[in-house]
Symmetry: C2
């Protein structure tokens, strides 16, 4: 049986999810790829933390150790922040290693560079997990773009904000109370800034823009607003009118320029994002032929995000497998 | 420039949509496939009908004429009913011609046979357009199945029924009035039986079952009910309780047996199909890793369905193009 040697960069929620998914879905992958996916190494930050990793897997704090794994074919990157993720993936690509990332902050900034570099080195760069967790928006857009032109994208791409707005509405509680509830439920980080300020949604919006329109707006031109200033009273007043606050990323092209905003808006019942509640993400795409359709699903979470990364793996290696077979 | 020679079987709404889509998206396809898609022939039923087809395209009532087009590479089938669609596609596959179908009645019955035959002859069989029009559920499921197991599928897969139920609720009108409204808007056929009896949804359900679970339930075991017996009063009573009637296809596996039903059910606000209104279709999938997600979009219509068929074309020929290139 052929072996596909893989390494994980980072062993937080997402890294652990990939580890679990590869284990629990081993048979499925074997059947699909005709190969066994073996996790050969895991890059970690704190060597003293206890982790439930098989003893024969290399655990290291040094990226060099990962790069030096003989025959390493694919890296799953689940680190947070632009660096060192970008540098690591650059080096991996230069070595001909396939890369799959969940790192939206890094990818919003450097996605294009990595994709171009990947092309140069004949390496695939999977990034489904960067945007809307388990919702398969990246591959759906890629597929659509084969034939359709994309006119507009509107999306709820931050589950934490959506959960908070949902709870404020349905329970009649304040922003602070809803945030605490999100934290108690594990839907918000201890430091929730990136989610509630809209920065997380901003990164995903830039990634979607790059894919759908081939470019991003100038970042400072994007109207960016989080949900922190929305009051209990506003939410209840809106509710009286059957309107709901949703934190929505909006991207479209006007005279060749990309217009984008990431901010709370009021939507009525006929809006496709009206009923998207809780930690769900949803993305509405307006396409030239297909019309308007919406994808809704888990925007985050260990297994949904891992599923996205493992699907990237499946894509990359089924294509490689197909290329090695005689053509029909 | 290489030419991909194509033929259309049937020139109703869907056939015309494909014709239009191939024309309007010619540049996009050229860029993608490195080839020009040329419609070389159209199979029609009534030779006396006036049609807006380029004069240099072969128009014929004889399938033999289509089969004999020199170098024909792909057939788009948009005929209604099991036959002659099945026989035609069989013969096309035997000649090594790629086939793409929108014919759900035929594909529900013979999909497996055609796919197996296609495999034997090295021919692809595209069937995205058979189910939920422009909603890309077939390719999304295929993609998911690479890694996930599907636990359950629930869907609104008939736009006509959904439109009627929506209008009954929102306007407080009777079934008959809503049906007439649907007919006036072009959302229901003159003979609406297949839509309102649930038969159309049944076919799509069988296609989804085959794909998701590798088999279909015994047809006579499926609980099948249309929307004709739902009264104005029932709809309004439900509305008082904030419940809505939705015509829902439901498929899951229990002890290795497929359980399926296609019938009106009452859903509450937390159900993912609660807000799917009008002619939209929506499909909720519960997958082992990904969790629960929903695809919503235009369930029918000329261009959405055509988009699905042209995407099938793009898939088939990009894979072929890739196979002809040196592997990376």
């Amino acid at each position: 049986m052929t072996i596909i040697k893989a390494a994980l960069l980072g062993y937080g929620t997402v890294g652990q999810g990939v580890y679990t998914a590869l284990k629990t879905h081993r048979q499925q992958l074997k059947k699909l790829l005709g190969a066994e996916v073996e996790i050969a190494g895991v890059l970690i930050k704190d060597p003293n933390k206890k982790r439930d990793i098989d003893p024969d897997i290399l655990i290291t704090t040094e990226f060099e150790d990962i790069l030096n794994i003989p025959g390493l074919q694919v890296i799953f990157e689940a680190i947070v922040g632009e660096e060192p993720g970008f540098t690591y993936l650059n080096r991996a690509i230069e070595k001909g290693i396939q890369v799959i990332t969940a790192n939206k902050v890094m990818f919003a900034r450097y996605g294009k560079v990595l994709l171009q570099k990947g092309q140069k080195y004949g390496v695939s760069v999977g990034y489904e997990a960067t945007t809307a967790g388990g919702v398969p928006i990246i591959r759906t857009l890629k597929q659509l773009l084969q034939v359709n032109k994309i006119n507009r994208i509107q999306g709820i791409v931050n589950g934490t904000s959506n959960f908070i707005l949902t709870e404020m509405r349905s329970r009649g509680i304040s922003f602070d109370e809803a945030l605490q509830l999100a934290q108690r439920n594990g839907y918000a980080e201890e430091d929730p800034t990136s989610d509630i300020s809209g920065k997380d949604a901003f990164c995903k919006t830039m990634i979607l823009s790059e894919l759908a329109f081939g470019k991003q707006p100038i970042w400072s031109d994007v109207e960016l607003e989080g949900i922190t200033s929305i009051t209990e009273e506003q939410v209840q007043q809106a509710l009286q009118l059957n309107l709901r606050y949703k934190h929505v990323a909006d991207i479209y092209q006007e005279n060749g320029t990309i217009k984008a905003s990431v901010k709370p808006i009021l939507v009525g019942e006929s809006h496709p994002l009206f009923s998207v509640d809780g930690v769900d993400n949803a993305i509405t795409v307006e396409a030239s032929l297909l019309g308007r359709f919406t994808l809704t699903g888990p925007g985050a979470g260990k297994l949904p995000t891992a599923s996205a990364m493992v699907e990237d793996l499946a894509d990359i290696f089924t294509v490689k497998k197909r290329e090695l077979q005689p053509s029909i």
